[in-house]
């Protein structure tokens, strides 16, 4: 029983260790990576612009002072604020934000975008459920709540849809700001507005703590940094409350998750249902950490990958009917819900 859940937890912890402490673990790789020049050789930052190397300790965007082992952007929420640079550079929102500001030519971005799309195409939003270190931290908060015997808060569907609209709104604002400050006339604002989402992202405060580095809790030097500091605190509070009281409700508005969700329908990993087996017990809908009910509602056979699904396969695991729900990878069956008793013959 619960084999999938146990496997997922182990994978999540391993991913957290790899993505957050990759800098420590693969130190030699990192050192060789440090000797390399900038990943974007054509980068011609306009005068007054900012680059990661200029951030000093104490700055709100100080990235723990080191480059990552691999300068790449996987579809999971890996962070520039990881101690010792971490394993990968940053998340995809960071990638878009900084390159919009730097106005990097598309040909230099293509390999990164291709890799990102390929990974999303293969696994959909499985990255959120199985890899994302911030999701793992959140799941740990959920675990704490359960141990404290506090009732889970379930949010209505409309609320969750509104959350994702909020996420898109924040993402649009962040990307627009990044584009505007990339224009020569506005370059002087880069020192304050660079990577606007990163400045309020809960990972900015959480990730450095994994390496026992004190994150930049407060920067009240100017009005803008004060606003960002207060916003970051509010967002962190929301993050903790969302995961503590409501399982994965935060993931409905996480911009990285929202970008991944575009690839969920049509991804290699497919969740499918055999409707005749379904007895509408509601176990799948109840166990879904994202609160999705389509798998429960559908009365026809088919593949039901929903945009918000984080592919934790909890629905498959709790289904009491043999062969009702299953997971396929490009049409090839990976596993199905099995009856708990072995067939006697």
């Amino acid at each position: 029983m619960n084999k999938i859940n146990i496997a997922r937890r182990i994978f999540q912890i391993l991913s957290l260790v790899l993505l957050v402490y990759g800098g420590y673990i693969f130190k030699e790789w990192k050192e060789s990576a440090e000797t390399e020049q900038s990943i974007f050789p054509s980068l011609k930052a306009p005068p007054g612009s900012i680059s990661t190397t200029k951030f000093e300790k104490g700055s709100i965007l100080w990235p723990s002072g080191a480059t990552p082992v691999i300068e790449n952007y996987p579809p999971s929420l890996v962070c520039r604020f990881n101690p010792k640079g971490g394993m990968f550079k940053a998340c995809i929102l960071h990638f878009f934000s900084e390159n919009l500001t730097w106005q990097t030519q598309i040909k230099y971005l293509l390999p990164y975008i291709t890799l990102f799309i390929l990974l999303c195409f293969l696994f959909g939003r499985m990255w959120c459920g199985w890899v994302c270190p911030i999701g793992t931290v959140g799941d740990f908060l959920t675990f704490l709540r359960r141990k404290m015997n506090i009732k889970v808060r379930r949010f209505p569907q409309n609320f969750r849809i509104n959350l994702s609209f909020t996420g898109y709104g924040i993402m649009a604002i962040a990307l627009t700001i990044s584009t505007i400050i990339g224009m020569p006339n506005f370059a002087r604002y880069q020192c304050y507005w660079f990577l606007p989402y990163c400045q309020i992202c809960p990972a900015r405060l959480i990730c450095p703590m994994f390496g026992l580095i004190k994150p930049n809790w407060k920067d009240f030097s100017t009005g803008i940094t004060t606003t960002f500091t207060i916003l970051a605190w509010l967002v962190l509070g929301l993050f903790v409350a969302a995961f503590y009281f409501g399982r994965r409700v935060w993931c409905h508005m996480c911009p990285v998750g929202l970008i991944n969700s575009w690839f969920n329908k049509g991804a290699g990993v497919e969740l499918h249902k055999k409707a005749i087996k379904c007895i509408k017990c509601g176990y799948c809908a109840d166990a879904c950490p994202m609160g999705l009910t389509k798998m429960y509602q559908m009365n026809n056979d088919g593949i039901y990958n929903q945009n918000a699904c984080i592919m934790c396969f909890r629905c498959v695991e709790v289904c009491p009917r043999e062969n009702c729900l299953g997971v396929k990878f490009f049409g090839k069956e990976l596993f199905r819900r099995k009856n708990d008793t072995k067939k006697v013959s």
């Binding site: 509408k280 176990y283 109840d286 009365n299 009491p320 043999e322 009856n339 708990d340």
Partner: protein
Amino acid sequence: MTQKKFLDNFRDEIQKGFVSDRISPNNIAELQKYKRKSEIPSMENFYEAIENFENKKTFELEKPSVGYFCNIVPEEIILACDLHPVRLCCEDQVCAQAGEEIAPGDICCVIKSICGKFYGRLYENLNLVIIPGTCDPKTKLAELISPLKEIYFLDPGRDSDYLENAAIWESRYTELFDFLKKRFHKNPGRTQLISACHKTNKRTEIFRKIYQLRTDYPDSINVFDYYIMIYASFFMEIELWNDFAEKVYSQALEKKKTQNKPRILLVGTPVIFPNFKIIDVLEQSGLAMATDIQCTSFGRFFNPVEIDEDTESGIIRALALKNIAGSICPCLLNLEKMANLIIDTVNQYNLDGVIYYNLRLCQVFEIQTAILRQILKQRNIPFISIKTDLGKEDTGQLKTRLEAFREMLESHRK
């Protein structure tokens, strides 16, 4: 709180007005008949338990005992409060006749039997009776027997296909849990709830093994033994039942042999001892009941409690989903689920036909017969609907019908 004292002011009048003598149904001879047919030595335990129960005609337990009807009432919550749950569903003809004094003749015979048992003073030792408002007669039953017993009325929503109702079911169950804690001065928490769920899940595991074995080899545990086991679970201690059933299963494994009788699926009203008329007739007509979809057996045992959130409210919600959302009771909105279940069971276990058994005057079972018949006809699954009551007068007629059905199945096979 849904605990109400119905008819409290009229208690004396009602008690004086009706029979108060003990009625004494005697089913031991019937029990011995089925015992002789049993080929599994371990079944002795179950027969003995039922014999003791029938002889004493009452419950003598160390723990306070709580009676209940229907799967809607969560057995696990009663177990968690360290109480002894006793399922009171009853199909006894003697009791039904006695019950006609309270309940009119042309209503459900299960309700009449229950009224007979209560007014015949057979359930004196019960501390509390939990009655769910599953169907209309059950709802009125709460009022009918309230002058005799302390009643807790549990009212679930009947739309089992609307998951938003889960919050209502959860609050109803929580109220029941709180009431039991207060009423019996117990203080169980989630540890007790989880341990109760483990007990019932263990039972599910054993039942699934037996269920699976019988679908492959219906003769490994004969149909009477199967229903005797089910009946024994109504009042036996759950751990004891699990132990005995495990033994029966291990002995039955050695007895499996292929047979050539048409294998059928029995769907409909529950078969409860001593009303074994339908399975008696099935046996005599040369049909093998390979599996069933009934609330007392499949509906009660097949689904495990899946605890996703191990908080108290999460466990109670899981119980609500198991007992109400996953219910096969036709009182709830689930005809499509029932049709799916029948078609899937027939296909999965390669069964020959479906018998829809309807205990006369149960309207909800009767009302969906035509639709089910039509659905199964389109899928070329042989279907027969049997409508009968607790009396034995129509045994010959039933036998003729089922023999004709068997012949039809045999020709269908060829």
